[in-house]
């Protein structure tokens, strides 16, 4: 077990703790915050998988996941802000 694998396991555990804030959050903005935290940890984990298996296409996966998470967060926030009218 190399150093990168240990870092990958730690980042995955932190991502699960960040996702639990999305489940237990009292308000809806706490849930969005937990989703944002989980999304950033998933990007780091994808790049670390690319480092472990020594391929570069996992970084494309990370960038596309980042784009989709960003667009989703912005649209849900605007949807709540305008009360159902995007």
């Amino acid at each position: 077990m190399t150093f990168d694998t240990v870092v990958l396991i730690i980042v995955t555990i932190l991502a699960l703790f960040g996702l639990s804030r999305a489940f237990i959050g009292p308000t809806i903005w706490d849930r969005l915050l937990g989703f944002s935290l989980f999304s950033s940890k998933v990007i780091v984990a994808a790049i670390l998988i690319g480092q472990v298996i020594n391929r570069t296409y996992m970084i494309d996966v990370a960038i596309i996941y980042g784009v989709l998470g960003f667009v989703g967060t912005i649209l849900i926030a605007r949807f709540i802000e305008r009360r159902g009218d995007v």
Binding site: V11, L14, W29, S36, I47, I59, F70, I74, I80
Partner: protein
Amino acid sequence: MGQVLEWLGNIIIIIGLVFMLLGVIGIFRFKDYYARVLVSAKVDTVGFITVLIGLMLKQGFNFFSAKVLIAVVFFVITNPIGTHAVTRSAFLSGYRIKKER
């Protein structure tokens, strides 16, 4: 030289993991939404940048670290914008801090 850069990258990755751990602790420790969003907007971005810079130091100057640099630049632009949009939505919807008594 390569060995020195690898050890330096490992140390920087450990520092970034400490930042990420502080962010995850802070999101459970604080009692208010506006205190939690402070943690998620700043400490999480710092941890992301630090871990990926350590990874770029370990990898050296090649195609992999150039793509990692693109991912870092993209994330530094988008994460504060997303957090700002969520907080603006919370403020305009009428969420305020309750008074301590």
